[in-house]
């Protein structure tokens, strides 16, 4: 009795935020994604891992339309992604993206980086956007850098600015494409801390990362990809203690070796 009502409750709140169905993508002869299906619920944190070239990045780049999928269906916050400009805008307005190389705008100050999107696409007034930017800079703990240019900041600080820039668009979903891979080791934690805090706030997230400590702490679901396919999808406890496939076990033993 208790269990059924709990399930009912779960069903009510657990709406699919992202739906990926039988998506394929090729680059020339290279099959980057083969018939990939994935559903991410509202508030769910998914960590995607796998060897390089396995299609992890391509998957999340397809979700916000940076890559055009060849086949299959992608639905984000009830908007179907069709690559018309209106569909792209609808999808991207609900999806934030953080890149491996930060991709901050080098000619703009930190604050201008944050306010450009809100002012131009969300039509906020400049003072409102400034307030919003400062609030998010507080949240990523670098409000004192607001008037500096990106290249004056460390890599970790730049990546936190990039996260704040995405958050300023007030997205429902955040995608992280190896956000710590370009960072010096001592800066990885400051970025992961910000991401963990964001996860705690209930944001729906998909993170492509090799930071397995972070994954264990934060993930609701682990996804392992290889050769353009989702090979394994499981809750972290099961994923790390008892991976179901040889390929996944092999991969984990390699990256968890030290």
């Amino acid at each position: 009795m208790v269990k059924t009502s709990f399930c009912a409750m779960l069903n009510l709140s657990a709406k699919a935020m992202i739906k990926v169905e039988n998506v394929s993508k090729t680059f020339g002869d290279f099959h980057a994604l083969k018939n990939v299906s994935l559903e991410v619920l509202t508030g769910e944190k998914v960590v995607v891992c796998g060897p390089s070239g396995s299609g992890k990045s391509t998957l999340i780049r397809c979700i916000n339309g940076l890559e055009r999928h060849d086949e299959g269906l992608i639905e984000v916050a009830d908007n179907r992604l069709t690559h018309t400009s209106s569909s792209l805008r609808a999808v991207r307005s609900s999806v934030g993206m953080v890149f491996q190389q930060f991709n901050l705008f080098p000619h703009l100050t930190v604050k201008q980086n944050l306010t450009l999107g809100p002012v131009r696409t969300r039509k906020l007034s400049q003072p409102d956007a400034d307030k919003l930017a400062m609030a998010y800079l507080e949240r990523v703990r670098i409000p004192e850098q607001a008037d500096k240019f990106p290249r004056q900041l460390s890599g970790g600080q730049q990546q936190r600015v990039a996260i704040a820039r995405s958050l300023c668009m007030e997205p429902q979903i955040m995608l992280f494409d190896e956000p710590t891979s370009a960072l010096d080791p001592e800066m990885i934690n400051e970025v992961l801390d910000v991401m963990s805090e964001l996860a705690g706030s209930g944001m729906t997230m998909i993170c492509v990362t090799h930071e397995m400590g972070f994954a264990k702490r934060v993930a609701d679901t682990m996804v392992f990809m290889d050769h353009g396919e989702i090979v394994e999808k499981a809750p972290p406890e099961q994923f790390f203690s008892n991976p179901g496939t040889e390929r996944c076990r092999d991969f984990l033993s390699k990256i968890l070796a030290h």
């Binding site: 916000n64 339309g65 940076l66 792209l88 805008r89 991207r92 307005s93 999806v95 934030g96 993206m97 890149f99 190389q101 991709n103 901050l104 705008f105 080098p106 000619h107 100050t109 450009l116 999107g117 131009r120 696409t121 008037d147 500096k148 240019f149 290249r151 004056q152 990039a162 820039r165 995405s166 300023c168 668009m169």
Partner: protein, 248 residues
């Protein structure tokens, strides 16, 4: 630094003057009333040289940008339009284009066209092909990540170009744009052939009256030299300013 070079060149000119008995500087000597009038006459061409060059460069930058953007499109027809425009316009000598615009265009269209606008149109058209190539290279040199970041905050194409891509591209191509401005200032001398009252035309007219080509054309050379050194210094200043903007 450019002014040291300029001073050096002036000294060299004066040195040459001293070595030769053929010079008659009286014709442009500012201490003599007749010479002063001649000098003022020569300098009065500066107004049209500047107006012509700056109007033409602004128009050519606008056309150049409009021609460069299709080159970056995924659409093949648009890219082809860019190639055809650049190849055709680049192939016509400026002097020929000036003559054609001034003498040919009115006959073809029935519109009358002033010397000034014929000059502006010819210079701007001719330069626009080069501007287009410069803009294309500049825009193509911007990292793909910048486009992706702009897309990820759902900027429209126009906003992405205006606020993200072009500001960075223009910083990179500023030296090349400066070159084009210098080139334009020099090429504006060709508009003298259709009677534009700019520096070269003024010098030509004075030579006919005074018959001292050596001194008058030497002054003309110095006029262009000073003008262009000042413009180059301005462009370099702007470059440094934009550079430091980025570093804060």
């Amino acid at each position: 630094m450019s002014f040291c070079r300029l001073a050096g060149l002036c000294c060299l000119t004066l040195l040459l003057t001293g070595c030769s008995g053929n010079w008659g500087w009286y014709v442009v000597d500012p201490t003599v009333p007749a010479g002063w009038i001649n000098l003022k006459f020569l300098l009065s061409g500066l107004y049209y040289t500047l107006l012509l060059s700056f109007t033409a460069i602004v128009i050519s930058i606008v056309i150049g940008l409009a021609v460069a953007l299709p080159a970056l499109s995924a659409n093949r027809a648009l890219r082809r339009f860019n190639r055809i425009y650049v190849e055709l316009v680049r192939a016509v000598p400026i002097l020929v284009l000036i003559l054609w615009v001034y003498y040919g265009l009115p006959q073809m269209t029935g519109l009358s066209i002033t010397v000034f606008w014929a000059g502006v149109i010819a210079l701007a058209l001719s330069d626009s092909a080069f501007e287009a190539e410069i803009f294309r290279a500049g825009i193509q040199s911007i990292d793909k990540g910048q486009y992706e970041a702009a897309h990820s905050i759902s900027l429209s194409y126009t906003d992405m170009m205006m606020y993200v891509i072009l500001p960075q591209a223009v910083r990179r191509i500023l030296p090349a744009l400066g070159n084009q401005l210098v080139y334009m200032l020099k090429m504006s001398s060709l508009v003298s052939v259709i009677g534009m009252q700019e520096l070269t035309r003024k010098a030509n007219e004075l030579v006919v009256v005074e018959y001292r080509p050596l001194e008058i054309y030497t002054v003309l050379v110095l006029e262009y030299l000073v003008l262009i050194l000042i413009v180059s210094a301005g462009v370099r200043w702007l470059e440094r300013k934009l550079q430091s903007d980025q570093r804060g």
